[in-house]
Symmetry: C2
DNA sequence: ACGAATCCAAGACACACTGTCTCGTATTCA
DNA sequence: TGAATACGAGACAGTGTGTCTTGGATTCGT
């Protein structure tokens, strides 16, 4: 196996990396995505601008790295309970994620930016946090173990699409009642 | 009734208005939303910058005015045929709209921008082209006339959400087979 | 200890867009 | 003819972009 052939020269500063990530997260929450700038991130992090550009090529890239781990964590659901309970739990977690967490705010901003920038779209496809979480839940649903549903590519969209679309267009999530009803309908497919 | 109490002074130039609208549409297609600028639009339209800022406050506002009418037109579906045929026709038109028309490109860009700018989000809510078209189709579905489905606010999202989400995340629409299957499932709710 | 390689913070630099303002001109009504 | 407003053109200060330079720090191999 190839060990760690440590490259020549001074190694990358983990402190600077974390400072940039945290600065991006803070600025997103405090000022919003539109007001975020590479210059602002560097200054907030107490880091040279070249250091930022050396490791990331856009604020979207920084934000994705800053929020992907949190997003994954917040979209995990216990595999206890019935299929319906698990789907309800997942959609509830997704609603909370999208409307009330920093990582969810980042995800919405990134999905928005993906409509303007093909590289961001590709980046988001590579790190498909939402899709992975959804497939994890779907893959272990009690009733679906024996007769796995054919996934024509619309399975995940039909699970999360309605909720995501509603948040994207209305800016807020539906209540627990609507979420439960939506989970119900999804399982009747 | 209040007639047209024509305001004082030189009237607004319809030519300049249309030139700006067309310039925005052209630039969106040629260079993409991110590369569009208010300055670029004014120059392309052969119009002074003050003239642009006098009537619109952002490129999103221009783009919405430039594309809303086209969007409405492209999302109209005949009310012939069964409920399933109409839903399939609507989702097919929506897929075509989102992935292959200028107005659809504009809608995606605007929905993206709405995630960065609250004013754009509000603007898009006021001119809810997609929602209106969806409700028009749903409201006249043969089988639904007698027992109207209770709309808890998730009706339209459940119809268009899966398709929109898939286009937003994957950049392309599903094929006719998947669309038909999705329409089927929606009607079983 | 020394040099090579790479990283670091700081900031200069040319370029582009923003949004406002000014200029001179055009159009409409009273 | 005068008041009011729109028009095209462009000046202007402010700000972010992405690259480059400077002086210094850190790690390795010799």
């Amino acid at each position: 196996m190839s060990e760690s052939p440590r490259p020549l020269g001074r190694p990358r500063s983990e402190g600077a990396r974390l400072a940039v990530l945290h600065a991006a997260d803070d600025l997103l929450v405090e000022q919003g995505y539109a007001a975020m700038t590479m210059k602002g991130i560097a200054e907030r992090a107490g880091v040279g601008r070249q250091t930022v550009y050396r490791w990331w090529s856009s604020k979207a890239e920084i934000l994705l790295e800053a929020s992907a781990a949190d997003a994954r964590r917040e979209l995990v659901v216990d595999d206890d309970g019935s299929a319906e309970e698990q789907v309800v739990a997942f959609l509830t977690a997704l609603a909370e994620f999208l409307t009330a967490t920093d990582a969810g705010l980042a995800y919405r901003a990134l999905l928005g930016e993906a409509q303007h920038d093909r590289r961001v779209a590709e980046l988001l496809r590579e790190t498909d946090v939402l899709g992975e979480s959804a497939r994890t839940v779907l893959g272990r649903l009690p009733a679906w173990g024996e007769s796995p549903v054919a996934d024509d590519g619309m399975l995940v969209p039909e699970l999360v699409g309605p909720l995501v679309f509603r948040v994207l267009t209305e800016g807020r999530a539906p209540g627990a009642t609507e979420i439960t009803a939506a989970a119900h309908r999804f399982l009747r497919r």
